[in-house]
């Protein structure tokens, strides 16, 4: 056995090139696709975003500045009774690790690539809190965009039961398509993993009853600051 599949590739492509389906529809690509969601010009993006995420059980806070954001973060950490937290090195807010240490909370910047990752996962599995930034957010759906990269790992938003997101207000877009059309292609070419997060992890598999926190975070906090 081998992973050599060029014969299958050639056969499949040859079959596909034999016929091209003739569809009756007009298939020309629109220059500017229709927006999906309605949004009034008068509506405040931040208020719409707040309404959307609160509908999804997200705990939302809006603070005036970076100092306020740091205070809000520390009170979440205290409320969650956390003794350690996983975090991005590249946060949109300065001084987070130092502030955490000042209240006796251990900041952890996980690094698993090329290491004995399964041992590290096990050691990190009980960390109660993850802290990350967000590269963008969409008001009409209440969505956060988390791109991976240097200093922006996947684990802080993946393993802990509580996830806190620090979002600068300038990164708020109206609709998903607004961001995807303006920055989507470029971001996908740069970042190997881009996740849209819309509320906490949920399932409705058992009798369609919605339960939060199946695999990912049960609680999601969003702190927006100017």
């Amino acid at each position: 056995m081998s992973l050599e599949t060029s014969a299958a590739r050639a056969a499949i492509l040859a079959r596909l090139r034999q016929h091209s389906p003739a569809f009756q529809d007009d298939l020309s690509a629109p220059e500017q696709p229709l927006p999906v969601t309605r949004l009034d010009d008068s509506e405040s993006l931040l208020e719409r975003f707040r309404a959307e995420v609160e509908r999804l059980n997200v705990i939302f806070q809006h603070v005036a500045d970076a100092e306020g954001a740091l205070d809000a973060l520390l009170s979440v950490v205290r409320a969650e009774n956390a003794s350690s937290a996983l975090l991005w090195r590249q946060l949109p807010l300065h001084g987070v690790p130092e502030a955490l240490e000042s209240i006796g909370v251990q900041p952890i910047l996980p690094q698993v690539q090329g290491a004995a990752r399964h041992d590290i996962y096990r050691a990190l599995n009980d960390v109660p809190l993850g802290i990350s930034g967000a590269d963008a957010a969409f008001a009409t759906t209440g969505t956060l965009v988390l791109a991976s990269g240097s200093g922006q790992g996947r684990l802080p938003s993946l393993l802990p039961p509580t996830h806190v997101v620090l979002l600068p207000q300038a990164r708020l877009f109206a609709r998903p398509e607004d961001w995807l059309l303006a920055h989507g292609a470029q971001t996908l070419q740069r970042a190997r993993s881009v996740t849209f997060v819309t509320g906490p992890s949920r399932t409705g598999d058992i009798e369609m009853q919605i339960i939060l926190g199946v695999h990912g975070p049960k609680r999601l906090y969003i702190i927006v600051f100017d």
């Binding site: 056995m1 992973l3 599949t5 060029s6 299958a8 499949i12 492509l13 079959r15 596909l16 016929h19 091209s20 389906p21 529809d25 298939l27 690509a29 629109p30 696709p33 229709l34 999906v36 969601t37 309605r38 996980p110 698993v112 690539q113 090329g114 399964h118 996962y121 599995n125 991976s148 990269g149 240097s150 790992g153 996947r154 684990l155 993946l158 998903p176 398509e177 995807l180 059309l181 989507g184 292609a185 996908l188 070419q189 190997r192 993993s193 996740t195 849209f196 819309t198 992890s201 949920r202 409705g204 598999d205 058992i206 009798e207 369609m208 339960i211 199946v214 695999h215 990912g216 975070p217």
Partner: protein
């Protein structure tokens, strides 16, 4: 999964008499349909958006070979290995080979219809590998040796009590039928699997050619766990999943959750464009994408090509009066409901799924609900014609149609048969004026579950003649 589509009539009768199943189906399909209607009523222009989504999928199907090559080139450049599989067996073999190459023992897997289609789990287990389904519904199905009965809600057919009994029996859980407790119990079991697995497998909802990106849409977050934690990540995607541009994806990724569960966006949409880069703190070191044909390229060359535009939202199942009553298992394979009645005969041969094209009243609710407007009723009719052409018509069909044609082309025979039917049905009618049972072959089935109204005392032609005579 073993194909049992030809047993549809028998399976349907059993399903109709299963009270638990009937309760679960009524709740599940009604909730999901209402949620879809609410979510689609909020958009700017639902019809125009559906046309836009449809055009994006059909355009991609037309340009499929070029787009697959573009997808392959883009994602290969970012460290993923793209493999091509002609059929189910080749696909399963490739996954096993990748597992051996990386000394994998334990695999975590996220929900994927394509892998249900290839019977991947059974093949992996036969090769001595451990594979764990991590979507809650699929985990329950796997524990029970059962199969999913809905594209989006795999255990729509199970009650909470059945889940409780399963967890107690197989996993020794302290009994509880609270979905919150059941979910928390599964979370803890599956977390252990995520942390220790050497390979993660997911399907794909879309492949974006422009950027070489795999998109997976989930609510639980298990897809993201499978694609982020294990060192080896394998995607299995049907070749019809590719779309051309990010702009096409922008429309489709919003119509999919609105049509499936009525959500504006699912909890997670994960976009993966290659293995992790060396300067990233975490992520998979290896990524493989298996592009699965398994009959798709053949279907694309037929007049059923449009069926490949399906984005697997399940909306047509929820609105179908047949699915609502018999559920997914009766269809006898991976894909059920109206789209299953089209896809199963196309993938497995129409003679091997002969009852399915007939399992429809052709009411058109499926097409009206479909976010990409697939003309399912039209394809079901064509499949019925194919069945006749293959000599697979239901018994008596051609004799019946010949008799009908004879009757309808002779005014004398037409009036005579009307008179016979009138006399016979009026003689058979009970005290309430209804016929309880028609003692005629074929027609007798009609009165098994309902009464038959007798023919009118005076037929229309007689009324007309009397009117003309001025009576």
């Amino acid at each position: 999964m073993e194909l049992k589509a030809n047993a549809f009539p028998q399976a349907a009768i059993i399903a109709l008499k299963d009270i638990q199943l009937q309760t679960a189906l009524a709740r599940g399909t009604t909730n999901a349909s209402n949620a879809r209607l609410r979510a689609m009523s909020e958009v700017t222009d639902a019809e125009a958006l559906r046309r836009q989504a449809r055009a994006a999928k059909l355009r991609a199907l037309r340009n499929l070979p070029a787009l697959l090559e573009q997808f392959e080139a883009n994602i290969t450049q970012r460290g993923a290995t793209v493999l091509w599989a002609e059929d189910a067996e080749a696909c399963n073999r490739l996954v096993i080979e990748v597992a051996r190459r990386h000394a994998v023992q334990r695999i975590v897997k996220s929900k994927s219809m394509a892998t249900e289609e290839t019977g991947l789990n059974r093949a992996l287990e036969a090769a001595g590998l451990e594979v764990i389904e991590t979507d809650l519904g699929e985990y329950i199905v796997q524990l029970d040796g059962d199969s999913p009965s809905h594209i989006v809600m795999p255990i729509i057919h199970k009650t909470r009590e059945q889940v409780r009994d399963l967890f107690v029996e197989k996993l020794g859980m302290t009994p509880s039928d609270d979905p919150e407790v059941l979910t928390a119990f599964a979370r803890q079991k599956l977390r252990e699997a995520f942390l220790s697995a050497q390979m993660g497998i997911t399907g794909a909802n879309f492949l974006i050619a422009e950027t070489g990106t795999v998109a997976i849409v989930t609510n639980e977050g298990n897809g993201r766990m499978c694609s982020s934690l294990p060192p080896v990540y394998v995607v299995i995607a049907g070749i019809e999943k590719v779309v051309e541009r990010v702009a096409d994806f922008a429309t489709l990724v919003q119509l999919l959750p609105r049509s499936a569960t009525g959500q504006r966006m699912t909890s997670y949409v994960h976009l993966i464009s290659g293995a992790a880069q060396p300067d990233e703190p975490d992520g998979p070191a290896f990524m493989y994408v298996i592009l699965l044909d398994n009959g798709r390229s053949r279907i694309r060359g037929t007049r059923y090509a449009e069926s490949l535009a399906c984005i697997r939202c399940g909306a047509c199942l929820n609105v179908c009066p047949v699915y609502q009553n018999v559920g997914g298992h009766a269809y006898g394979w991976v894909y059920s409901g109206p789209i299953g009645a089209v896809i199963t005969p196309l993938l497995k041969g129409v003679a091997n799924a002969a009852p399915l094209p007939h399992a429809s009243s052709l009411c058109g609710a499926c097409q009206a609900a479909c976010p990409v407007m697939i003309n399912i009723p039209d394809m079901l009719l064509r499949l019925r014609a194919d069945l006749v052409a293959e000599g697979e018509a239901p018994p008596g069909l051609s004799a019946g149609i010949a008799a009908w044609a004879r009757l309808m082309s002779s005014p004398f025979l037409y009036e005579l048969s009307g008179a016979v039917a009138r006399l016979a049905t009026r003689a058979m009618a009970g005290s309430d004026g209804q016929v309880r049972r028609l003692p005629v072959p074929l027609l007798g089935n009609w009165t098994e579950n309902r009464d038959f109204p007798p023919f009118a005392a005076k037929p229309f032609r007689q009324l007309w003649r009397e009117r003309q005579r001025g009576q």
